[in-house]
């Protein structure tokens, strides 16, 4: 058990803990906070099924963003789709026996990294070159994109250029799952990749990455348009009637 494996083991346990606890707390906060008024952006679905459909379209196709600006939609969608496939592909590092579909998507996941990085570079360029977007960008907005770009590129270098010992990497993560610390290759590219991923996990619940759970709690998107048919009353508003 090298100092390196121990350090990374601690890093990933800590990052996972912060990610999970942070997200659970935020989601609980969103769920607990009442939405006292019906404020769906209309035209809105008039029943639950319609709302589910609206939400699915929003989350899968980014329909509102598509209406807004085609370039941001294109880059944003490429990035998210790429990221999804890449993440799913990474499941193989956490399964002793991989599910068949995880094997099936390996090649797609590999090349999806291109889509992911191209999308990120596009978003980065937009942030620099469109004066309106530049105006609203804080340093953290650029850094967040850079972080993801470096994660993506370091991963791609390991996939396509200089392979790391992925059997050992898999051993390390499978080890973590059963609370045993296994050796990790001391490969600079891999360590960069892993460090930044852990960093991303840590900042997720305290940054704008909260848009991921946030979208599901957005009253303008998740409410049914039926205020006349069904009385909607928040607990604190009900207290006013006493």
């Amino acid at each position: 058990m090298s100092a390196l494996s121990v350090t990374y083991a601690i890093l990933f346990y800590a990052a996972t803990l912060l990610l999970v606890v942070g997200l659970v707390r935020k989601i609980a906060l969103y769920a607990r906070t009442p939405a006292p008024l019906k404020i769906p952006t209309t035209p809105a679905p008039v029943n639950r099924t319609g709302v589910v459909l609206r939400m699915v379209q929003e989350v899968v196709l980014f329909t509102s963003l598509f209406k807004a600006t085609k370039w941001t939609w294109l880059f944003g969608w490429l990035f998210h789709l790429g990221l999804l496939l890449v993440l799913l592909r990474h499941l193989r590092y956490f399964q002793a026996e991989t599910w068949f579909w995880v094997d099936l998507i390996q090649p797609f996941g590999k090349y999806a990294s291109y889509a992911m990085v191209v999308g990120l570079l596009g978003l980065f360029a937009r942030r620099i070159f469109v004066d309106r977007v530049r105006y609203i960008s804080a340093p953290s907005d650029y850094l967040m994109l850079l972080l993801l770009i470096v994660i993506g590129i370091s991963g791609m270098l390991m996939t396509f250029v200089t392979h790391t010992d992925i059997v050992m990497v898999k051993g390390f993560f499978l080890g973590l799952l059963r609370f045993s610390i296994e050796p990790l290759p001391s490969d600079l590219l891999l360590l960069t990749h892993l460090t930044l991923v852990a960093l991303l996990m840590i900042i997720f619940p305290i940054s704008k990455l909260l848009h991921a759970p946030g979208v599901f709690f957005s009253p303008s998107r998740n409410q049914v348009d039926n205020p006349r048919e069904k009385r909607h009353l928040a607990p604190w508003a009900a207290d006013l009637e006493k």
Binding site: I39, T42, S64, L65, A68, P219
Partner: protein
């Protein structure tokens, strides 16, 4: 006309380059002590205002999921940056929805998030200073809460929710807006925004009865406080005297007359508008809404119908049941409340109204979708009925109708520039500049399709258009009420017909 330049109308809209600070000076008058206190707010800026403002922010975050989620979720993607009519018309970057939200978000981050507490520069967090408060007062009164940005935001972030919260925070620390708060005071005591007492109202309505009878020969009634009537009509008080609003009111009266239903207005609840929404105050909004419930109970009506007014319809359609419901004492066969357009449309569907469309042949019309109707409410039982129903009414009453370009109507409609509690003379520059996108779209159909008039179903839109149309070289009377068109073309079945008269003459 004023000390600012009216924006140019281009053939095709162009997204302007940023001009920082150009609208910083735009601030409405601050509410005086007595008007603040009447609404339960401090009269002037309290000593520990920074602390109080943060307390209120926490209170609102705990009461409104929208606020909490919207403060956290923005990724600064820029989708909304070119969607606000005030940004398009002024080029001031703080009028981009995300930048407007950030005025509040930067403070939330600074005091209530880990990153903002320890790395403020990194995430653009800022201390709550007098400068920030000045920015709040200026730019949260450059948002008409029209929700256009929320249509395009991938998370549905609605700047209206943020600006309502910011205005409530400002009220709570003693910095209220004169226009809204004075009006709320009047509506809460007298019963309408104009402060028109019952005798004056009765007198006005009597005058209207005489006018219509003279004009048509039919005794169309404008009943007030009539107990036992079937329908309570709640309409914006501008309908009682302003042009072209009053022509709309005449239209509703003729439709009720033709439908043969008994109806009444109430002097106690003689206002559909509810400015409580503009200042984000649930309590004030509820207060005003309860007057309508009380009027309905006292008069013993069976249905409530709302006149043409945009934000009023949002409060009525989306919030009334919440604020003042349940309305189980009303006739369950009708939605509570109903829009006058729904009422008229139903009669048209049942073929109960006859029109002589040629009465409106001197006009070619287009329709301005009012933001609160378009993006915050509905008509009828299908999503999008708020677009179809008013258009169906116009088509039933007029031969010539053309829509403006698709990116300026329906859910993409542009605000008139005067909504959200900004319809005050001290904001005239903002109102004129904010009207530019709408005027540009109007100009397109005026030039390409020979449109002569624009119809609307909102009291604020109508007043705003009357004011700003001339700045852009159009006539102030281009704006008409939808029910004015109905009024012109509707054939009253008990009217003394010209034919009967001439026949009588022939026989004699």
């Amino acid at each position: 006309m004023a000390d600012f330049e009216t924006p140019e109308l281009r053939e095709y809209p162009i997204i302007p380059k940023l001009k920082e600070g150009v609208m910083e000076h735009s601030k409405p008058y601050v509410a005086k002590v007595q008007f603040q206190e009447a609404l339960g707010f401090p009269g002037e800026l309290v000593d520990n205002w920074e602390e109080k403002a943060l307390e209120k922010l926490d209170d609102l975050r705990g009461r409104y999921r929208s606020l909490q989620v919207y403060l956290d979720s923005c990724v600064k993607c820029g989708a909304c940056t070119d969607k606000c009519h005030y940004y398009l018309g002024t080029s001031d970057p703080k009028n981009m929805p995300v930048a407007r939200q950030d005025l509040l978000r930067q403070v939330y981050r600074r005091y209530r998030t880990f990153a903002g507490k320890y790395f403020p520069k990194l995430v653009g967090a800022k201390d709550l200073t007098k400068d920030v408060l000045d920015d709040w007062y200026s730019y949260f009164h450059q948002c008409s809460q029209c929700r256009r940005c929320s249509v395009y935001c991938p998370y549905g972030i609605d700047t209206a929710e943020i600006s309502m919260a910011a205005r409530e925070i400002m009220d709570t620390i003693g910095v209220g807006q004169k226009y809204c708060n004075e009006i709320i005071g009047k509506a809460a005591t007298v019963g309408n925004n104009l402060g028109l007492p019952e005798p004056a109202l009765a007198d006005t309505l009597e005058g209207l009865e005489e006018e219509v009878e003279e004009d048509t020969g039919v005794p169309v009634k404008f009943p007030l406080d009539q107990k036992g009537a079937e329908i309570l009509l709640v309409t914006p008080s501008a309908d009682f005297f302003a042009e072209p609003h009053v022509d709309g009111l005449i239209g509703y009266a003729k439709v009720f007359h033709e439908a043969g239903v008994s109806w009444t207005m109430s002097s106690y609840a003689s206002e559909a508008a509810n400015f409580g929404m503009f200042i984000g105050s649930y309590e004030n909004m509820r207060n005003l809404s309860l007057r309508i419930r009380k009027a309905a109970e006292d008069l013993g009506v069976k249905r409530i119908v709302f006149g043409e007014c945009g934000h009023a319809w949002r409060v009525a359609y989306s919030f009334l049941n919440t604020l003042a419901g349940p309305f189980d004492f009303l006739d369950p066969n009708y939605p509570v409340p109903q829009h006058i357009c729904e009422f008229t449309y139903d009669l048209i569907q049942k073929d109960k109204l006859k029109f002589d469309k040629s009465e409106n042949d001197h006009m070619t019309l287009t329709f301005h979708d009012s933001c609160n109707v378009a993006r915050a409410s509905r008509m009828g039982d299908k999503a999008g009925g708020q677009f179809d129903i008013p258009r169906a009414i116009i088509r039933a009453a007029c031969n010539n109708f053309v829509d403006m370009p698709a990116d300026a109507i329906g859910e993409a409609t542009f605000c008139c520039g005067g909504g959200g509690g900004l319809l005050t003379d001290d904001l005239m520059e903002l109102r004129v500049k904010g009207a530019q996108p709408r005027m540009e779209a109007y100009k397109r159909v005026v030039e390409d399709n020979g449109v002569t008039n624009v119809a609307a179903i909102c009291a604020i839109c109508k007043s705003q258009f009357t004011k700003v149309l001339p700045y852009y070289g159009f006539g102030m009377t281009d704006i008409v009420s939808v029910h004015q068109l109905v009024s012109e073309a509707l054939i009253l079945s008990d009217a003394p017909s010209d034919d009967t008269e001439s026949n009588a003459e022939a026989e004699a």
